[in-house]
């Protein structure tokens, strides 16, 4: 599917792994980070202002003068070039990948680039979406084209059904544990069980594919996607489907019924995750629910279900950061914010938050369990801090226990 989208945008009938192709792009998404003086270079023109979306998400609301200046520069640039789709601090604020999927800006069969490495997230909408570097983003915004090296594709055939309390995050951790890095490879999700996953769950999978170094991650289009698009007045017209005779580097079956709650171990998830039972009891003092992979309304509901009538353990800080202000508002209306805060959680304004250490940064002795994307040393603060990754339910259960906990024992 990825090859078809690249070929379509390169004006070719087909492309093959190894090819380097120059492609047009449909949507370019600069973020607040692009406008920092250390990264910004101003293009004299924008190839098409209606194809550019500006999103402020990483370090918002501006915590310092430097960030304040960067956001001002971004606003001025958007105004100068007639870019109207600007997600500034305020009610339309949100993490780029959440908005790209929810608005949506990622469309089936299209090509979207953004400066964040988890842009493969948009593949849940059958869009070839890719993170690129800051200078490339400026280049692409000016010219409307970029280049890609075509990778081989690994297809995952999803079968079976998820057991209770097992999350899409667990499916990804299972995949990362079994199959490790996918350097230079595209990942494709399909198979009979894809239809049992919500769009949010698919996006957890595609977003997390950045952690196994995948290029593009893309899901087959189906009725779940169609319903998501139609609810927003859009259609699935551009969708691409895999060819019957498509060539893959590998086709692997992923039986969802075999997946158990898992935890990503500190450092990296590549061949480095464990069944929750084997790390159960590990003390934690920081917990975080949020990020572009797991800041959805479903994550907040999952957390609230665990925390309802319970308390965050003393000495533990639990931060909950919705993926967008729209999700925040919905959580308020559903009473989730009351449940979470009554239990002792801190619910913050939508942003990347703790995911990249921009809020509540970790100290050297801190041990954190997070439903965010990445657990490299130093990712959330001090390089000596330990970061475990898990589903939002597992994080909530662990926050209550003060130690890594098995959500199944909690809920039964």
């Amino acid at each position: 599917m990825t090859e078809k989208i690249l070929a379509r945008h390169a004006g070719r009938d087909s492309v093959r792994p190894g090819d380097i192709v120059v492609t047009s792009v449909d949507t370019v998404v600069p973020l607040d980070m692009n406008f920092y003086d250390s990264m910004w270079a101003e293009p004299t023109k924008v190839f098409d202002p209606d194809r550019v979306v500006v999103i402020f998400d990483h370090v918002v609301p501006a915590p310092s003068r430097q960030v304040g200046e960067a956001l001002e520069r971004g606003r001025a640039f958007a105004a100068k070039h007639g870019i109207t789709r600007v997600h500034d601090v305020g009610p339309e604020q949100g993490i780029c990948h959440q908005l790209i999927a929810d608005v949506p800006y990622a469309m089936p069969g299209e090509l979207l680039v953004c400066v964040d490495s988890h842009t493969c997230s948009g593949g849940a909408l059958n869009c070839a979406a890719r993170g690129i570097g800051a200078p490339e983003l400026i280049y692409t915004m000016a010219k409307g084209v970029t280049w890609f090296q075509v990778g081989e594709t690994v297809r995952y055939e999803l079968t079976g059904t998820l057991s209770p309390y097992v999350a899409a995050k667990d499916v990804f951790l299972h995949l990362a544990d079994h199959y490790g890095a996918h350097v230079g490879q595209n990942i494709e999700f399909g198979g009979p069980a894809l239809s049992t996953l919500t769009l949010d769950q698919r996006r957890t999978l595609t977003t997390m594919c950045a952690e196994v170094s995948a290029e593009f991650a893309i899901a087959e289009p189906d009725d779940v996607l169609r319903a998501h698009l139609e609810a927003r007045g859009r259609t699935m017209d551009g969708a691409v489907y895999p060819d019957a005779d498509a060539e893959y580097h590998a086709v692997r079956t992923l039986d969802l019924s075999e997946v158990e709650p898992r935890v990503g171990l500190p450092g990296s998830v590549v061949h480095h995750t464990a069944g929750v039972r084997s790390v159960r009891g590990t003390r934690i003092n920081r917990a975080f629910i949020g990020s572009c992979a797991n800041g959805t309304i479903a994550d907040l509901r999952e957390a609230a279900a665990v925390l309802s009538g319970r308390k965050v353990a003393s000495g533990v800080t639990l931060f909950v950061t919705p993926g967008s202000q729209a999700i925040y508002r919905q959580a308020v209306h559903e009473g989730l914010v009351a449940t979470l805060t009554d239990a002792g959680a801190v619910v913050t304004v939508s942003s990347c938050g703790m995911c990249a250490g921009f809020q509540n940064s970790l100290g050297p002795e801190d041990v954190c369990i997070a439903s965010s994307t990445r657990n490299f040393a130093g990712r959330m603060g001090h390089p000596d801090a330990q970061i475990y990754l898990a589903s939002s339910g597992t994080v909530a259960a662990s926050a209550v226990a003060g130690a890594i906990a098995d959500i199944r024992e909690f809920q039964e």
């Binding site: 293009p43 490339e136 000016a142 940064s361 490299f376 390089p383």
Partner: protein, 169 residues
Amino acid sequence: MAVPGRVWCFGDDVNTDLIQPMHTVFKPVAEQHRYVFEANRPGWVDLVEPGDILVAGRNFGTGSSRPAAKLLVDLRLGGLVADSINWLFFRNCVNFALPALSCPGVSELFTEGQHARLDLVAGTVENTDTGQTRQGTPWTPELLDIVAAGGLLKQLERDGLLVTGTSDE
């Protein structure tokens, strides 16, 4: 383009947070390179010399899109070779004009302090102390043109598409 240089050996899975720790991303550009590898190889930035070559194992540069490759350029590293390079990181190498080759098996070829020569057109790496070579992926003319221009932003500037004075390149 052939680049000879003294070799520094690194292991597998060297990620972007090691090259450019998150807490340094928004520090002044002139200071950022001081923190390169502070977690895994403190002090290295004081030892590396212009033209040196970094040799690494698998999956070099995995992680963020942040301009970590630029810091290696700022340290005046002459080149990077690894058994495999994360493709997003490789894009950044091209765009910041850092000669880089993904070359299976290359990490076995070197011990630290030996010398390497990269040939981007041929896609080869030679250990000039032992004469052994390994074949990687050759660069195409499009990529070589970006490096010849001094990086992607320089290329934009050359083509009149940058407001002058807004790039620190």
